[in-house]
Symmetry: C2
């Protein structure tokens, strides 16, 4: 499934094969939480260089429900995206969005943040939902402890996460090819998720336990939850050596352009984050010169492009003064153009990262990038 | 400026020449209130068959201000639309949106609905703003009385509207070619606006007074303000015979697809309305079979296109079930696709209307259309 091409230091350049095409690594997954990238068409994400979309099991289970998506022929057909889709397991959202949750050995009971309905999510159910969605890369159900959780809690939580990972894998293997309710006939990949809080030894233990079970790829979860950047980078360093080199490594929910560059340097292949799309909606735009807060007075009469190095529609067809006007006037087109640009920026960053590794100059690239990118 | 090609009954098929290209009549103007069509790119409006965009003087004066637009090189450059633009005068918005307004002989004082700032709009100022925007077709400042205003009020208001129309024309002629602050070097058109409430004789009087002054086109204002449809059609009939046949006729702010068909039959050439764009945002979609309220339960599992006769993106790439999901999930893509479709529907209706007049079968077309279009 995963193939190496080239390394530059610990940074890796490879390909990841899925039932919906091969992905060039390292890559960033544009977020399409509820089966739609905020304001963008799938064809636009593709044109910007998007290779894969991430959707959320939790959101799609609540609305419209996986059975409707399955009836549509799966999420690819439902949302009209023919590239690969990764779905998370819903674990993180249960802990961050849902009201009142009760953790049990068997699974987690929670109330929908939409209508208060009580839902019981088990490891098996999480995989079943993802299979009905027709996901290309599925994630195990995990528990993500808070950054300040004490060691006793994290240890207990880790045991549960490992047990659930095993149960997910058993259910996945049993049903991936012949369950009548699965959507795709193509075998999909299942990824484990390393937890262990901010403890080196627990991260190592988690990685080893998951590798013993055996997954198609390994994610690092529970980071970027409020800890300092240095701690996050440290936890990546504590985990990566215990993951197999022939499987893809996915840093979940990270991060800023700086974080991505730092993590690639530490051997990470896959990323997802709401930053480009969410920040776009708040007028917080990523450019080759750094962050532009488009509502700032200084852009009122600025008829230059948002980012002269960017080839997206927002940068080639409009000026900062117009983008500022759209933002101040709360125009829908503002959300759309800002999102388009930020996604273009992230996808373009990944292209530059891949080229730098190919030319075995990732270290230099990283230095140049961080020097130019002003926060 | 306006040229006849063909009639079918009283329905007229012609062309209207502007500095930014020739428009085929009858036509519908997509609303771009604040210099942007809600959620759509100018290139998309064009691809759907949009020939002209309408923008609002009131909104653009308040934000970003006509001086910024002028510095950008005019509204066409600011919003990146190279087709014709019609701007209203702000009169209607002062009466419908602004807080506390004082009508004076000289103009109207009002408070901005955005920040409460006191603004004094005169006929001359309304034209100056439109000239700074670089509008192709400008409208005179008028007063629009409420549908239930008494005759004494309407008579007084009409006198003011006629006086203001004359002042607008004087100012327009004086400045159209050599005022240093005007944006376009191309002469633009100025339209008068017939008022007169729901009184046949006052409508006639208004039309005759405006024709005496002499404008490039004539609008009928003050309709679709709450009166019954029959009254509106009646007022059109009371006005049209008093307008010259060699000038375009514009029914302001109207209307439903049915209204448009009825008005074309009565000799109207131009329309604008917020219905397609505003209703789109409320999930109220126009189709060849009638109105679809996309949030309805019945579309949950409906994997057919929204309108099988429509060639827009929303209809060719997605299903009703997906459009319903996007609407329920309050996705930005829902606003975008719904707007795209409704604009496509209106622009396509105008194409069908033009073809029917060309084939001298407008009466039959009208009957077929109204039979199929279920409200």
């Amino acid at each position: 499934m995963f193939k190496y091409i080239q390394t530059s230091g610990k940074a890796r350049r490879g390909t990841l094969k899925t039932a919906h095409g091969e992905i060039q690594t390292p890559f960033f997954m544009t977020i399409g939480t509820a089966g739609a990238v905020k304001g963008l068409l799938p064809s636009e994400v593709r044109a910007l260089g998007g290779q894969i979309i991430l959707s959320n099991t939790y959101h799609l289970h609540l609305r419209p429900g996986e059975d409707i998506v399955a009836k549509a022929g799966g999420l690819h057909k439902f949302m009209n995206w023919d590239g690969p889709i990764l779905t998370d397991s819903g674990g993180y959202q249960v802990f961050s969005l849902a009201k009142i949750r009760k953790l049990k050995d068997d699974g987690v009971e929670f109330q929908s943040h939409l209508n208060g309905e009580t839902i019981f999510l088990t490891p098996e159910k999480a995989i079943e939902i993802q299979m009905k969605l027709g996901s290309d890369i599925m994630m195990v159900l995990d528990e993500c402890p808070a950054a300040d959780a004490d060691r006793t809690y994290v240890e207990k939580s880790l045991k549960l996460t490992t047990d659930w990972a095993k149960r997910c894998q058993t259910f996945f293997i049993k049903n991936r090819r012949d369950a009548p309710w699965r959507v795709s006939t193509n075998p999909s990949g299942l990824f484990g998720i390393v937890q262990g809080g901010m403890h080196h030894d627990l991260r190592k233990q988690s990685a080893q336990q998951l590798v013993d079970i055996g997954f198609d790829g390994y994610a690092i979860g529970g980071l970027s939850v409020g800890e300092p950047n240095a701690t996050m980078y440290n936890m990546i360093d504590a985990t990566v050596p215990h993951l197999p080199t022939d499987k893809p490594r996915y840093l979940m929910g990270v991060g800023t352009p700086q974080d991505i560059v730092e993590a690639v340097e530490r051997g990470i292949d896959m990323f997802d984050c709401v930053l480009p799309t969410r920040n776009a909606r708040h007028g917080h735009l990523f450019t080759s010169q750094g962050i532009v807060r488009i509502k700032n007075e200084q852009y009122k009469n600025d008829f230059t492009p948002l980012d002269p190095e960017c080839q997206c529609l927002a940068c080639t067809q409009f000026t900062k003064a117009y983008l500022r006007h759209l933002f101040m006037a709360k125009e829908i087109l503002s959300l759309r153009l800002n999102t388009l640009h930020n996604v273009a920026f992230y996808l373009n960053l990944m292209k530059q990262i891949r080229a730098a590794i190919e030319n075995d100059r990732f270290g230099e690239f990283k230095k140049e990038f961080l020097d130019n990118f002003k926060v």
